[in-house]
């Protein structure tokens, strides 16, 4: 096994990740890639608190993670990589370490338009997701395993009312 899910989720580690994906995939570790969290012991403790003791959490900056992805591919246990934003995931895709991207949660904020119940995007973010695809990544939106994976074209075309 290896990284079985590369997820963009502005909530980072939360119920859907730990329970929704973590349990059915029997996830042994989570790689949280975020420059701010990687520099904060308090934030790291906060995220560790929400994870069961048998599940390991590793924290990296985007730059450090890009260098470690080859190692994660050799892991015998399944893991999840999560970033809070598209730009961080882009750094990993551009480095060649990520080929499939799951858009798991980009929530409401001023200037964003709703595409799915759990995906709101600004025009710049729409372009950024398209760029991930142009870099060679397969981009789909899916909040939980039981949901359908929505292809990027369909995601960008979709408009939902709140």
């Amino acid at each position: 096994m290896t990284l079985v899910l590369n997820r963009i989720d502005d909530r980072l580690i939360h119920g859907q990740v730990v329970v929704g994906w973590g349990q059915p995939l029997d996830v042994a570790f989570i790689v949280l890639v975020d420059d701010a969290v990687a520099e904060s012991d308090w934030e790291q403790e906060l995220y560790r608190m929400g994870v069961p003791p048998e599940m390991e959490v590793r924290f990296h900056t985007a730059a450090a993670a890009a260098l470690l992805l080859d190692g994660y591919r050799l892991e015998t246990r399944p893991g999840i990589l999560v970033t809070a934003d598209i730009a961080t995931m882009r750094a990993l895709v551009a480095g060649g370490g990520v080929r499939e991207v799951n858009v798991g949660g980009i929530h409401h904020r001023a200037g964003r338009v709703q595409h799915l119940r759990y995906v709101f995007l600004t025009p710049d973010e729409q372009r950024a997701l398209r760029e991930l695809s142009n870099l060679g990544a397969v981009v789909t939106a899916q909040d939980v395993p039981a949901a359908r994976a929505v292809p990027l074209d369909e995601l960008l075309a979709a408009r939902e009312s709140s």
């Binding site: 502005d10 980072l12 580690i13 939360h14 994870v51 929530h107 409401h108 904020r109 119940r117």
Partner: protein
Amino acid sequence: MSEFVKRAVVAGHAEFAAGLVSAVEQITGRGEALVAVQVRDLCGEDIQKLLRDTLRETGACVIFTDLQAGSCTMAARRVLRDLERGVLVAGVNLPMLLDFALSNNPDATEAARAAAEKGRASVSVHGVPA
């Protein structure tokens, strides 16, 4: 004017908080002591803002959340760190919230700590042995 002072905020996934508060209201008639917040569609920063605003507007100093790993719990911990007061109880269940709602302890944080013990002890398993 409500008879009850708002003593706690309840937050969780989907309609969990509203459902729990409605159950407290049905059983005790004291649901008004609680404020249910719904966070679906909100990013982490907006959840923090919602919790912070709700605490300020109601004067409550206790937050109950549903899941240890949940985004409400994460947000609540950040809010209470900034406020430097209050109590967060993660993993709320109905017996816990009933105990809190029925408590006459004027210190809501003490009532929350006692209710947490009540809730922890309220889980039982019945049935034919495996």
